[in-house]
């Protein structure tokens, strides 16, 4: 049997990024690590697709970015949520719970 997939559920990467950044601004690598931590290893974010997604979210105006020094005195690009991004997060989160409760109901249905 193949190893269980650690890929993020398709279509949820944006949501995860927005949620992570809603807690505090951080750089791309930090986001990947935080997602891995909080999901307890279920999801490992692919750095390549993470960077692409960050570009896309920035283009849509939901994230702001600037260069900052990190702890180990390396320079990294730190992303933060904009107001529009916060609204988008709420929208997407609401959409997510609507769909997952529907799936859960369908799974519980008997006959």
């Amino acid at each position: 049997m193949a190893a269980p997939s650690t890929d993020v559920i398709p279509g949820t990467l944006d949501l995860l990024i927005l949620k992570t950044l809603s807690l505090q601004p951080m750089h791309g690598f930090g986001i990947a690590r935080r997602v891995e931590q909080i999901s307890r290893g279920v999801f490992k974010v692919n750095p390549g697709s993470l960077l692409v997604a960050l570009q896309r979210l920035e283009r849509s105006g939901w994230l702001d970015a600037e260069w900052k020094q990190t702890e180990n005195s390396r320079r990294a690009r730190v992303y933060a949520l904009t107001r529009a991004g916060r609204r988008q997060l709420e929208l997407q989160a609401a959409e997510w719970s609507r769909r997952t409760s529907a799936v859960a109901r369908l799974l519980r249905a008997e006959g």
Binding site: H27, P47, L51, Q55, R59, R75
Partner: protein, 893 residues
């Protein structure tokens, strides 16, 4: 907005992206090292996890959303580089495009200025001219008298004004030492207000200037006149100048860009209507029971004013019906006591409003059709050029086949290849379009000059404004797409490297190329046929016998009225002129006339004969000195010429033309009969053969000639001298003789009558010349196209030829084989051309004279010419094929 910023800061963003990806890589490495891996192992794992740096960067860049434009710009740079590598091709292509697009733009801009452009006044669609006449009248009649205008104005509500203007006439404007002829127009005080035209300096005329008793004589100059005669001197406004000797004050300059309502005839001076008599202004008029020597303004019988009014769309019908009702009431009243024939005819007259958004333009009617035909021709030339360029690009693409194959192997998608192919043709088109602007400007000026009916160039402003530039840009874009699409599509379907069979060269027959050449030949046939028709038409017109000795008559146009001669002085003046010109060596005889030959100026009158119930009918009049007919070479078929015995006070006599005699009496044996305007006051003493005394193209007029001596109040405007020998050399001598005898007599022009007649054919000359040029261009391009295709196919088959020659084929058989191959294209092309000619010949029907558009002689000439050119163009590569060195051809495989 942010998208645009991202586009502009591309390089900075790229650097950011690079740094970010690498930073991410470093952080990943650090993290892995912290969990115990060695530095190298950590870096390797990090790299694996991230995936290729460049891939990530590329994917991120795509997500940025600007890559369409970036790719396009990169394609353009690439196209420029590859164009620079083949300078010969690039130069030829750009020149072809520049000439093609430029010529089209030039013709379009002239068409626009002449036919389509609206007047430079506000809301020009509200302007209307007032027109009256019976439905059966051939020419619309716009002339009204001043009192009638007043009565019509009274029928309108106060806010609607009927501005009045005379025709455009020539006056002399004198300032200080200068005395220049200018075109002038008499207008009512509210004319400028009706049009909505303001002043650039000073003021325009207003209603206060209309009152003859109170107002000072003032004039308004046009901006062009101000620049030309006064150098834009600000002190011009308020200064005094002389108009035909009368002092007037310049009260303002009209706003720049306004030259009056007649397109192509700019007005320099506007003066109030009442100045007509004082300055001696004589424009177009029709007179009825009136005295043209007295002031025109108060006379109801002199109709000399055109009326214009401004009416928004909603009110037009209302205004028109009020005017029409008033007009009809007047007609009913006036003809209440006339006989029934006259009354019925008069009551057929209607009054209408006619939209005037684009102004009056006699030139429009004359040149509208030829310009459209030229537009079509030059468009065809551009199409042919596009076909050639498409073929050239395809040949280039075939030569670069390997490079494209490599790209496909590296992962280029068909869409990308298509874009790349198109960007090359679009770049070429853009460069050609830039150069074409200069071509368009020069071409437009040249076209106007060639279209000028008189020696003075027509003034149409052909500014390179947004419309013209926009047209050129759009045309360049369409052209680029047109000739770039086929080669780009072909490139897009290329196979990756190694997939195409190497070794055996595939014999491409280029079916698309052949179709292109055949269509080029078809289009060229149409153009050559049209051009031959126009050339022949011009020749036919030039060969028309005008009915007098046009190439032996020198004509001087004089203006004794402007010089202020009184009636009593006229006989003396005439005597002196006849003596002076008669004394010039080479002059055989001299005559004077009211209107000269070939000038197009006419005087029309209504005549009746006794016992005629049809009412008065039109004839054309002229006043001439004794011996005039012999002088100009008009043949008398019956009766006699005028002599010195036909003096003032004696019974009035006339000589009529055959057309007049036949129209009124049904025969030309009419010596001794009588006719007149109302009463039969003239006796016919001679009948002269019909002649084209007006322009060559106009219908033969029904002429009535009177002795000048019997009309002592007429100012003769023309001196005709019959010369022996070279008429051109005597022109200067005649002018000098007149100037010496009468230094104060203004001479408008001294020309040979045949030159004057040719000037009237300027439209035909324009067509013949330009159609000839365009068809030559088309023929050249088609020949080049044919040559290219045949050369290409020969090159492809060169090893086949080599083998044949090596096996003993005779060279001329090879030649015949290649030629026979291309014969198909030529025959199909010519056939298609003949088919295409059928609808086209209907278009040019009105522009030919003396032959039918389906004239077999012309068509055969065109077919033969094209066949000849085709054979020559195909022979060259065929001949080269026959001389291929077999060994070399085989080696080249």
């Amino acid at each position: 907005m942010r998208w645009l910023l991202r586009l502009l800061r591309r390089r900075a963003l790229d650097r950011d992206l690079d740094r970010e990806v690498r930073a991410h890589l470093e952080l990943l490495t650090d993290d892995l090292m912290r969990s115990g891996l060695s530095a190298t192992e950590a870096r390797r794992q990090a790299a694996l996890t991230l995936g290729g740096v460049e891939q990530v960067k590329e994917a991120s860049r795509d997500a940025r959303g600007t890559h369409f434009v970036e790719d396009f710009l990169r394609d353009v740079r690439y196209a420029l580089r590859s164009l620079r590598r083949s300078p010969g091709f690039t130069l030829a292509a750009i020149l072809t495009l520049a000439v093609g697009i430029g010529a089209n733009t030039a013709v379009w801009s002239v068409l626009d200025a002449l036919v389509w452009r609206a007047l430079p006044v506000e809301r020009s669609e509200e302007l209307h001219a007032v027109r009256h006449g019976a439905p059966s009248d051939e020419d619309p009649n716009y002339l009204f008298s001043y009192p009638r205008r007043g009565r019509l104005q009274a029928a309108l509500p106060g806010s609607a004004r009927l501005g009045a203007m005379s025709s455009i006439g020539g006056l002399y404007l004198a300032t200080g030492q200068r005395n220049d002829p200018v075109s002038a127009q008499m207008v009512s005080g509210d004319w400028f207000q009706v049009l909505g035209v303001g002043a650039g300096q000073g003021r325009v005329l207003n209603e206060g200037d209309d009152d003859e008793a109170q107002a000072h004589p003032v004039v308004v100059l046009s901006d062009v006149a101000w620049a030309r005669f006064f150098g834009r001197d600000p002190k011009t406004v308020g200064s005094t100048v002389r108009l035909n000797g009368q002092p007037v004050t310049v009260v303002g300059i009209a706003e720049p860009g306004f030259d009056g309502l007649t397109v192509g005839q700019p007005v320099y001076v506007w003066a109030p209507l009442w100045l007509q008599h004082q300055v001696g202004f004589y424009g177009n008029f029709s007179s009825n029971d009136s005295d043209t020597e007295k002031p025109w303004l108060p006379q109801d019988g002199i109709a000399w004013l055109t009326l214009v009014t401004r009416a928004p769309a909603a009110l037009t019908n209302q205004v028109e019906s009020r005017l029409a009702t008033r007009y009809r009431a007047e007609l009913v009243e006036r003809f209440a006591n006339a006989d029934s024939v006259e009354r019925t005819r008069a009551l057929q007259e209607r009054l209408q409003l006619e939209p005037l958004a684009r102004g009056f333009s006699p030139m429009r009617a004359q040149y509208g059709d030829p310009l459209r035909v030229l537009m079509l021709s030059v468009g065809l030339v551009l199409l042919i050029a596009c076909a050639n360029l498409a073929g050239l690009l395809m040949a280039r693409g075939a030569a670069r086949g390997q490079e494209v194959a490599v790209r496909v192997s590296l992962g280029a998608r068909p869409g990308r290849l298509l874009r790349q192919g198109l960007s090359e043709s679009l770049t070429l088109a853009a460069l050609g379009g830039l150069v074409s602007v200069a071509v368009a400007w020069l071409g437009g000026l040249g076209l106007l000059r060639a279209a000028s009916p008189t020696s003075r160039p027509v003034s149409l402003s052909l500014a390179l404004d947004a419309r013209v530039l926009g047209f050129a840009a759009i045309l360049a874009l369409v052209t680029g797409l047109l000739f770039g699409l086929a080669p780009a599509l072909r490139a897009a379907r290329a196979a990756p490297f190694g997939a195409a069979a190497t070794g055996v060269r595939v014999t491409h027959r280029l079916p698309l190329g052949r179709v292109l050449v055949a269509s080029q030949l078809a289009l060229s046939l149409v153009l050559v046929a049209a051009a031959s028709l126009f050339v022949k038409t011009l020749g036919n017109y030039l060969r028309v016998d005008p009915g007098y000795a046009a190439d032996q008559i020198v004509e001087a146009r004089i203006e004794p009225r402007v010089a202020g001669y009184k009636y009593e002085e006229l006989p003396g003046l005439y005597r002196r002129l006849l003596d002076a010109v008669g004394a010039v060596p080479g002059v055989r005889s001299v005559g004077l006339s009211l209107y000269g030959l070939g000038t197009g100026a006419v005087r029309l009158g209504g005549f009746r004969i006794p016992g005629d119930t049809r009412g008065s009918r039109q004839g054309q009049e002229n006043y001439v000195t004794p011996g005039y007919f012999a002088t100009v070479g008009m043949v008398l078929v019956r009766g006699r010429e005028f002599t010195a015995a036909d003096r003032d006070g004696l019974p009035r006599v006339s000589v009529v033309s055959q057309a007049f005699a036949r129209h009124f009496w049904g025969t030309d044996d009419v010596v001794g009969r009588h006719f007149g305007y109302g009463e039969p006051q003239f006796e016919v003493v001679g009948v002269v053969r019909d002649a084209r005394v007006n322009r060559v193209k106009q219908a033969i007029p029904r002429m009535v000639f009177h002795p000048l001596a019997q009309a002592p109040q007429e100012y003769a405007l023309s001196v005709e001298a019959r010369v022996a020998g070279d008429a051109g050399a005597i022109v200067a001598a005649v002018r000098a003789a007149i100037a010496k005898a009468q230094p104060d007599l203004p001479i408008r022009d001294v020309v040979m009558v045949s030159d004057l007649l040719e000037r009237g054919l300027s439209r035909e000359k324009l067509l013949a010349r330009l159609a000839g040029v365009f068809s030559a261009m088309a023929l050249l391009l088609a020949a080049i196209g044919l040559y290219g295709v045949v050369a290409y196919s020969v090159a492809q088959r060169s090893n086949e030829m080599g083998i044949r020659l090596a096996l003993g084929a005779v060279p001329w058989k090879i030649w015949r084989m290649v030629l026979g191959d291309s014969l198909g294209m030529v025959v199909v092309g010519l056939g298609a051309g003949l088919l295409l000619w059928l609808p086209v010949q209907g278009l040019v029907r009105n522009l030919v004279f003396g032959l039918s558009p389906t004239d077999p002689g012309t068509l055969s000439f065109a077919v033969l010419l094209l066949a000849l050119v085709g054979i020559l163009a195909a022979s060259l590569p065929a001949w080269r094929a026959a001389r291929v060195d077999p060994a070399q051809a085989l080696r080249g495989q």
